[in-house]
């Protein structure tokens, strides 16, 4: 399973031209600056060569990679003259020209955890070329993806001893085309997926087997890691509290032990907070981390009723008494179908519309199947209520943050600021839900259903790679 996942992610890493993943140019610029200087670039102050190093800027302009971004009719400059010009530049490029991407880099609002990790891979490659460094960074990202696949297996293993169900859960994560494509580029979203997947697995272990010092500390470390990765990672803090509380409620540990574990948990979080403060104060973030996820807190015009109406209309048709929603007509289909299952590159590489229509029907049928399965197995779910609530807290927290930020963003601009890949940290609960439906069907039918889901994933994966190759190289 992991070998198959690695092959698919490697294909994305090798076939996607440099900087053509969402915001990859800025993420790589951040990695390069950390690797070359040991410090983060500024998100607010202009310095050096700007948001990208001189080396990266030359590559983006001389090889047509900037012109290529989100421009479907454009092709990169693969001709021998431009490539020769690039090679000559690379032979002469200095360390300073790799290190001068001082900012302002909008991505530098992100905390440094992911970029510090990627910088290790960047530094580890023997070659000095930009392509070497970029590929090493992309490969390091693939490792994170493989960990997420393994975590899916571990999460399922907490809920069932049936090997085929664990395999199905991990396979669903491995073949999710949007996730695999993100694994093949440089983007902090993948670390967020990995951390959330590990958190889900450990949360299930804690809820099923009971709390312990290591589990409490581990969950807290993952929540802190999430917050040190991306603004969206803050959404893991509420589920942390819920999971710890549910574990104590269910397993009734001795008060003293519970207090000791909670203290350790708080210490781990405090360590994360200290790291956060150190970076925010001394780093290049201009003292303001996260950007989009926290800037909008100060957005005026918030109304609870309007927000509720906004969320309702995101998923369901407008009711006569509801006010007109804020922003464009953007909702379930765009987020949970089109950009969740596969919009590649800078979102301009897309499956044909009929594929999205089919996926939408499948998603709605799957949702209906989940509800029916939950109803038919309600007694078992009631017995495992703490597990269900833990998973609901994990999913609900991220979706609530995404909708809140999106709503606040729309109050000040026309950009809904919400795409399907932002929901990828929920990939393990998503896979568990499909596995739950599969195991709720008659035994044989469930096995067929499971393999059908995986097969559709393989087809989408290969189709996605094909349309990507067609878009960039034909």
């Amino acid at each position: 399973m992991l070998v198959a996942a690695a092959i698919m992610a490697t294909a994305w890493a090798l076939l996607m031209p440099p900087f053509q993943g969402p915001d990859e140019s800025e993420h790589f610029a951040y990695v390069q600056h950390v690797a070359e200087t040991g410090s983060a670039p500024s998100s607010t102050t202009f310095g050096g060569a700007g948001s990208h190093s001189s080396e990266q800027t030359f590559a983006m302009d001389a090889l047509g990679l900037r012109m290529l971004m989100a421009s479907p009719a454009a092709r990169p400059l693969w001709n021998s003259i431009d490539q020769q010009r690039w090679r000559e530049f690379e032979q002469e490029v200095t360390k300073r020209q790799r290190a001068d991407g001082e900012g302002a880099n909008p991505i530098a609002k992100n905390p440094p955890l992911y970029y510090a990790y990627e910088a290790i891979a960047y530094r580890a490659v023997p070659g000095d070329s930009l392509y070497d460094h970029l590929l090493a960074s992309r490969f390091a990202n693939i490792v994170l993806f493989l960990v997420a696949v393994a975590c899916a297996w571990l999460a399922a293993a907490e809920l069932t001893a049936r090997v085929w169900v664990r395999t199905l859960t991990a396979a669903i994560v491995a073949v999710q085309p949007q996730l695999t494509s993100m694994a093949g580029i440089v983007n902090a979203d993948t670390l967020l997926v990995t951390i959330w997947s590990a958190f889900t697995a450990l949360a299930l272990r804690t809820l099923v087997r009971g709390p312990s010092l290591a589990r409490f500390a581990g969950l807290s470390a993952l929540a802190a890691g999430s917050a040190l990765t991306h603004g969206r990672g803050l959404a893991l803090l509420p589920p942390l509290v819920v999971v710890l509380a549910l574990a104590c409620w269910r397993h009734r540990p001795a008060l003293r032990a519970a207090l000791r574990w909670s203290g350790a948990s708080a210490l781990v979080l405090a360590a994360g907070l200290i790291l956060f403060r150190l970076f925010a104060a001394g780093g290049g973030s201009g003292g303001s981390l996260y950007g989009d996820q926290t800037n909008y807190i100060h957005q005026g015009g918030f109304g609870v009723g309007q927000f509720a109406s906004h969320v309702w209309q995101f998923y369901l048709p407008k009711l006569p008494f509801l006010p007109t929603r804020v922003g464009p007509d953007y909702g379930f289909r765009q987020m949970f179908v089109e950009t969740f299952f596969g919009s590649f590159g800078w979102l301009e590489v897309r499956f044909p519309a009929r594929v999205y229509s089919g996926l939408r029907i499948a998603a709605l049928l799957g949702l209906a199947g989940l509800l029916i399965a939950a109803w038919s197995r309600r007694r078992m779910l009631r017995e495992q209520l703490h597990v269900v609530l833990g998973l609901v807290a994990i999913c609900g927290s991220l979706l609530a943050l995404l909708h809140l930020v999106s709503y606040l963003a729309l109050l000040g601009s026309g950009d809904p600021l919400i795409v399907g890949r932002y929901a990828l940290p929920l990939i393990v609960p998503f896979a568990l839900a499909i596995a739950f439906v599969a195991t709720s069907l008659p035994r044989r039918v469930g096995a067929y259903f499971g393999v059908l889901v995986v097969t559709v994933g393989i087809v989408l994966q290969l189709s996605g790679l094909l349309i990507t190759v067609e878009r960039f190289y034909v």
Partner: protein, 236 residues
Amino acid sequence: MSDRFPRRTAQAVVLCAAAVLLLAFFVELLPRLTRDQRGIASTPVPTGARNATTLPLEPGQRVCLDGVVVSPDSEVLQLMLDPAEPLPAPPLRVTVNGIGYDAAATVRADEHTLRVPLDPPDETLAAAVCVANRGRRTATLAATADPRVLQRTRATPYGGYPLAVAFQATFTEAEPRSMLGSLDTTAERAATFNALGPWALWLLLPLLGLGVPALLLGAYYLALRRPGGSDDDAGT
């Protein structure tokens, strides 16, 4: 009850998946692989770029794009007229000049997409692509003011200074080809932008087409055959 599936059931499940994969290959992937399309050789100023604008050409006026790379597969130059341009458009003289290379054609557009066949050079070279209006009324070219494009090339009127726009120009191959028929070209192009080279892409091809399905379905088969757990498991 043990959750181990009988061998026949497990085989049937995997065979069913293989059949679905085969069907999807013939219905979805193969038509895309074998569909003929005119391959793009280069996009000096791509169509559909941001900051769309127009570039009017007065009768007798000529405008050029400098530093455009032309390669042996640049067999057709595709220009775009402003969609509001009345048709037929005035005749346009298109020339492509580089060191030791000249190509020219005069065309009269009946469509807004103008395809100009040219004799391509034997070797890749830098050239100037010029369009002159040979008609009696203004012809309006589709253009862009996208700074990402202007950073490389700009439209320059004859005897004038570079403008802050560039007219759209794309070189394509003359004969449509399928992706399957041009795999080597595609692999070479893709390999240009990664550190490993074409061999890695050729290796990926069988791994993706056969290895990934075999590994995943194989894993599923083995999992179905593995004893472990029962239908009464909690959770999933």
